[in-house]
Amino acid sequence: MIMPLLQGLKITFSHMFKKTITLQYPHERPNIPPGFRGLHALNVSHDKAKCVACYLCPTVCPAKCITVEAGEDANHDKYAAKYEIDMLRCIFCGYCVEACPVDAIRMTDTFELANMKRADFVFTKETLLEKK
């Protein structure tokens, strides 16, 4: 009867001398491991989004949270006139990054996505581009 109790307390006491796992968030910030899938970012090259609006990310997206509309620029090239991700639907699976043939989208370590209004969860092209 007493032995199991002592064994339990032994585990408890041994943890008192180990390094803590919990973080005093938000005062302490976590170390985000590589490969973490946070908020998306649209990569930029030559001051332009690399995205060519090939529609592979909305096609592969299992949550159907990406909306792309293609446009034709002055050089007759294809670009994303509209690129929106609905973060309330996103399941952060990263398939969009895998599907992208031109390395135009990546996932950042931003995980703090809480917001006050539903509309604010729809990230537009401009907001996705800002984080370089």
């Binding site: 609006a53 090939c54 293609a70 446009g71 034709e72 007759h76 090239d77």
Partner: protein, 829 residues
């Protein structure tokens, strides 16, 4: 039949089949890039290489090798797969890998095969092509860097369209598909090249970057422009019709479409569509609710009903479905008690509803579209048959080029059909068709070429009597042809084993009415050319459901007013309520001034249309209707084919389908239950319309049903007089432009890019006499009005004749015309 073995499967195929056809029949797929079932074998891409045991294991192309008895074929040995991989590697050497931005991705034969054969690396390297991309053309984008030299575009343009816009330029490594002198593309813009291009070298510009192939949902339906009845696959995304999709297994035409069918779909989701009902208040049309609009209409129709119905009249477009036309006719005939209902200005359906009905016993063509390629001699009345029904024009091209059909074009001007190999064009004076065909009948009787069966047809004696005055020598002068030409044509026609006559109808052709149809039917009856395969008369209704409108009896009977009388009645005040469904008489009926005056005068004008047309602007109530893409129903096209129309998208805005509107009005006015759905109306049609007996809505299937025609033919003499010319004046002929059909195609962007406004086409001689060049403004003045049109100088027009298309609202030619076959106009700069 030939027996052979393909991949251990026994196959029996006709002896003219190739190995590719035989494999297809056995369900074995051989990969192809340059082969198309509609085109002659080419053997350019080497993807279809197979091994034939008898040929000592040599690799030979399946698409060009005819089958022989006992052949043993292997289609996928390791050697063949290696060879095919190499073909793909070599193609990918030059082909840019820009699949992410290429609209063909997903529907690209090269992409699919590369994936299938797992060609993910290339042993070779080379520079890509650096050809200039044609971004200027509004319809077809040509990126020759992506071209794989299959030659399909050049071949389809030559073999089926007979235009020849493309050809291979240069040799060897520098070879490319190019246009005349490598200049801009300036063709008919039928888009056949885009439809067959296996890669993204030729793309639809209006659809560019709009959606990816796999995101489109596809709905099969029937085109809503001309009466040919081409099947159409619409590509839809987010409730919008974004493009038309090529399906080579669709319809008699194998998916082949004309310029309007392919590019004219934009009217469906046009910004100009009416989205709410409009009611005139204080002289202005303002938005209203459906309740308000419908109650205003109902109130008006009730009062017309109590007054006996005679004060109400209806002009309807034959673009509606059979079911809608049937309910509309019931609304007027049964619910309101009015017989005043007509369509197509009265004259554009006369050839069927009066001519064929009297002469054949049924109001339809005795022939079908399939007869075009089965005949020996094709007599086409007016080269315009190509412009009014372009896909039937392709059938003519194929008949002439592949089947050796002897083409005779009897026309008041030359046209594209005149340029076909060995085609003979007889250019006659405008308006002398009946005279000419009566003279032919007279020759046939005079030379005893009459078929033995003709004597049993009643009316032969009267016909002979009536033809006394039509000796070729006498009428030759008035026809503008020599007597010999008429005699030769008559002899050839009578002696041909099989001969088919094609007669296009339309609002632009007031001369193509009852008499002309009867003169032609007389010719066919005299020579025993009715009721046989490849023979007869094909009367080509102008609009998608022209034949259906006649079948439904949407023309005045029992003393009802016809279109002309209805408009006269409006002007005189006897017609107090006019219900215009889809028609645009202000632009398309003759004598614009008179039509406008009549519509201004009528007490209450209801217009139900897709757009605020020139006619709708005069209305008291405008009801927004749906396009063909938003409704179910049936169309009956040329050759009596009843086909299903399938709803592809939800109604635009608050618009309602004509069926929904008319069903509600009918139920209210007749005080009965409305029809449950379209199928219920079709069931009633098959009970009430004898020709549709036994045909069920569900039984129409994908390819539709040809309703059987049967009747007792008789000879009805056709009266034709010479058209008296007026000295110093030009003969104005109206008609259809290739890119347009009626007044609807004006709301599609595609047709408007190519043909944005009306023009007056005249000969070089007249142009130099008037000192005008292309695009100079000409003033045309007739007894009824005056318009200014751009000149278009062309080699096809005879001297003294001017052609103008009738589709356009601004400077519309119906300002000049009054419904006569030929309008005499003064022309000045």
């Amino acid at each position: 039949m030939v027996n052979l073995t393909i991949d251990d499967k026994q196959v029996t195929v006709p002896k003219d089949a190739t190995i590719y056809d035989a494999a297809k029949a056995a369900g074995i797929r051989i990969p192809i890039l340059c082969h198309d079932k509609k085109l002659h074998p080419f053997g350019g891409c080497r993807m279809c290489l197979v091994e034939v045991e008898q040929m000592k294991g040599r690799q030979i192309p399946a698409c060009t090798t005819p089958v022989t008895e006992g052949m043993i074929v292997r289609t996928s040995t390791p050697d063949i797969i290696q060879a095919r991989k190499m073909v793909l590697e070599l193609l990918l050497l030059k082909h840019p890998i820009d699949c992410p931005v290429c609209d063909a991705a997903g529907d690209c034969d090269l992409q699919n095969l590369t994936y299938e054969y797992k060609v993910n690396a290339n042993r070779f390297t080379d520079e890509k092509f650096q050809h200039k991309i044609d971004y200027e053309n509004p319809l077809i984008e040509r990126d020759m860097n992506r071209c794989i030299h299959c030659g399909k575009c050049a071949r389809i343009c030559d073999e089926i369209v007979s235009y020849g816009a493309y050809s291979f330029l240069n040799r060897g490594l520098e070879a490319k598909i190019g246009t005349e002198f490598d200049g801009p593309l300036n063709c008919e813009f039928c888009g056949s090249c885009v439809s067959v291009c296996p890669v993204g070298a030729l793309l639809s510009r209006p659809f560019k970057f709009k959606a990816r192939w796999w995101a489109l949902s596809k709905t099969k339906t029937v085109c809503s422009y001309c009466g040919t009845g081409c099947q159409l696959t619409l590509g839809i995304k987010d409730g919008k019709v974004l493009t038309t999709i090529y399906d080579e297994n669709q319809g008699f035409h194998n998916g082949q479409l004309c310029t309007r069918g392919r590019w004219g779909y934009q009217f469906v989701n046009s910004d100009k569509r009416l989205t709410t009902p409009l009611i005139r208040k204080n002289g202005k049309l303002v938005q209203a609710s459906w309740e308000e609009a419908l109650s205003a209409v109902k109130e008006r129709l009730f009062s017309a009903k109590t007054a006996g119905g005679e004060s109400a009249a209806c002009l309807v477009t034959p673009r509606l479905t059979n079911e809608e036309l049937f309910v509309l006719k019931k609304l007027f005939n049964v619910a309101l008690g009015s017989q005043n209902i007509d369509h197509s200005a009265g004259y554009a359906h006369n050839a069927l509803s009066a001519g064929a009905l009297e002469s054949l016993g049924y109001a339809a063509s005795p022939s079908t579209i399939a007869d075009i390629q089965k005949t020996n001699l094709l007599l086409v009345v007016k080269s315009d048959a190509y412009e009014t029904h372009p896909v039937l024009g392709f059938e003519i091209n194929l008949g002439v080029k592949r089947k050796g059909v002897d083409l005779r074009v009897v026309s008041d001007k030359r046209g594209k059909l005149s340029r076909l190999p060995d085609a003979t064009t007889y250019v006659h004076k405008p308006g002398s068709e009946v005279l000419l065909f009566n003279a032919m009948a007279r020759v046939i009787i005079g030379e005893n070429l009459v078929d033995a069966g003709a004597s049993s047809i009643s009316g032969l004696a009267e016909l002979k009597n009536s033809l006394q005055g039509y000796a070729p020598e006498k009428v030759a002068e008035a026809c503008g042809m020599s007597a010999d030409e008429i005699i030769v044509l008559a002899r050839d026609y009578a002696k041909a084993e099989k001969a088919l006559i094609m007669l296009p109808l339309g609002l632009g052709y007031p001369g193509h009415g009852k008499d002309l149809a009867q003169a032609l039917i007389n010719l066919a009856l005299l020579t025993g050319k009715i009721g046989k395969e490849g023979c007869g008369v094909l009367i080509m209704g102008e609009k998608n459901n022209s034949q259906g409108a006649v079948d439904m009896g949407v023309y005045p009977a029992k003393g009802g007013k016809d279109a002309v009388a209805i408009l006269d009645g409006c002007a005189a005040g006897t017609v107090k309520t006019l219900y215009v469904v889809g028609e645009n008489p202000v632009v398309s009926y003759p004598n614009r001034k008179a039509v406008e005056a009549a519509l201004d005068k009528v007490e209450f004008l209801i217009v139900q249309d897709l757009f605020l047309t020139e006619t709708a602007e005069k209305a008291h109530v405008v009801l927004p209707a749906c396009s063909f893409a938003e409704k179910d129903g049936t169309f009956t096209s040329v050759g009596k084919v009843i086909q299903r129309v399938n709803r592809a998208i939800a109604p635009v805005g608050l618009s309602r389908s004509d069926f929904e509107i008319l069903n509600a009005l009918y139920a209210a006015c007749a005080n009965t239950q409305p029809y449950a759905d379209v199928a219920a109306v079709f069931a009633e049609i098959s009970e009430n319309v004898p020709a549709y007996k036994g045909i069920s809505y569900a039984g129409l299937g994908e390819n539709g049903v040809i309703w059987p025609a049967g009747g007792t033919p008789r000879f009805v003499p056709a009266e034709g007089g010479a058209v008296q010319g007026e000295s110093g004046k030009y003969a104005l002929l109206t008609g259809s432009a290739l890119n347009h059909c009626g007044t609807l195609s004006r709301f599609g962007e595609g047709p408007m890019y190519v043909c944005p406004a009306g023009y007056a086409e005249l000969s070089y001689t007249d142009a130099s006499a008037l000192k005008v060049k292309n695009d100079d403004l000409l003033t045309l003045k007739s007894a009824s009005g005056e318009v200014r049109l751009k000149a278009k100088v062309s080699a096809r027009m005879p001297q003294g004749v001017i052609f103008a298309p009738y589709h356009f609202g601004e400077e519309s030619v119906n300002t000049l015309t009054t419904g006569a076959p030929v309008t005499w106009v003064n022309v000045s700069k």
